[in-house]
Amino acid sequence: MNQEIQDYQVQSEITPASAEEGYQVKLEIFEGPLDLLLFLIRKKKIDIHDIPIAIITRDYLEYLEKKNQINLDREAEFLFIAALLIYIKSQMLLPREQEASQEDDPRKILVDRLEEYQKIKVACTLLREKEEIQLQCWSRTFQPPIANSNDLDLLEVDLFDLAENFFLIMKRKEKENFKVIKGKDVSVEEKLKEIVDYLEKNGSMDFLEYFSSRETLEEALVSFFCLLELIKNRMVIAVQEQLFQTIRVWLRKDHQPHQHHGQSHE
């Protein structure tokens, strides 16, 4: 299976602009208050270093008023910049004893931010071009067949991936809502042995499948701890063939059989 194809499928699932995009959806082209401000400044053909604060503030507030649908999260961010604009204006109105140097210009705080943001916007445009070209270049990023994967070139999963998967299973389990009549004690040590025996017999196991077939939450938890322990001791290796696919657990070839049984895991 081609990695690129996988990526494509995954992307199309994730991309929909939601949650964060609250205000952006309504303002459509503006990523945020700074974006809007830059737009207004450009429209007026104003030099970023010499912004007539009063005019820009008026334009800015006008724009916000037109968009009267309120999304509190986003609103706060837009209002913050509005407040900053008004603050700057008030600073500029204060009488000064001597002509302000450029360093003292109350607008500096805003100009610095706008300049930095402007740079990022340009960088985005350039990266977007690169992205477009790159999306049209396809490479052969296939994975080796799993059968002879003793050399383990596969994507080794990190703790976050494992934990994420684990919680996914736990959520599913929660919904099942079993009534356990009599709890069975599960010891870490027994479980360790059981997992290793299982792996020795079957070669590998499917992470998702294994945990979802555990009887109780407790047993699943203990199994998960055992698995982490085994990975830490470099007895087994957890491998994900491709992003967002199931995680497979393999016994490491170089592990010493049964040596682990001597260790105690309380």
């Binding site: 949650a19 961010e77 943001y117 740079k119 990266l127 977007r128 396809w138």
Partner: protein
Amino acid sequence: MNEQLKAILEVLIFISQEPLTLNKIKEVLGEVPEEELDSALQALQQDYADSRRGIQIIQSAGGYLFATKPEHDQWVRRFLQIEKKSKLSSAALETLSIIAYHQPITQAEISAIRGVDSTYSLKTLLQKKLIKIVGRKKAPGNPLIYRTTERFLQYFGLNSLDDLPKEEEIAKILEEEKQILS
């Protein structure tokens, strides 16, 4: 030009599972003068670029690999029955650029530059493995620190972070825009 060396390099790139790095080449070939290697690699790249081939050799994330040329995109997609690969959202791209230029960086620092909250974008980028968490900052609240990944380089066809658009390049574009406006 050492034609045999060129052919061997072609083979290695072809057989490699990931972008073929110079280190790996040296590991396989042993004693080959650096200049000879460089010129052979360049010549090989040139061969593919020049000829009317559909394949090219690109440098990505510190190594060489085969990839199709962009102009044949539609045929690949037709073959794989894929409409079009989706791009990053503007918010995600903006967040990613900030991380790329300012890494290592925390979420608060990113949001300060953007002027908007970046929680969702960060989540998307982490899921796509374009960024990673590299630790926590020794500051109040111990916020997480983010960096871009190898996958980020590959995604944009960059060889290393040095390949990011340069400050001067950006300044030049801004200057040009200013001239057009006034």
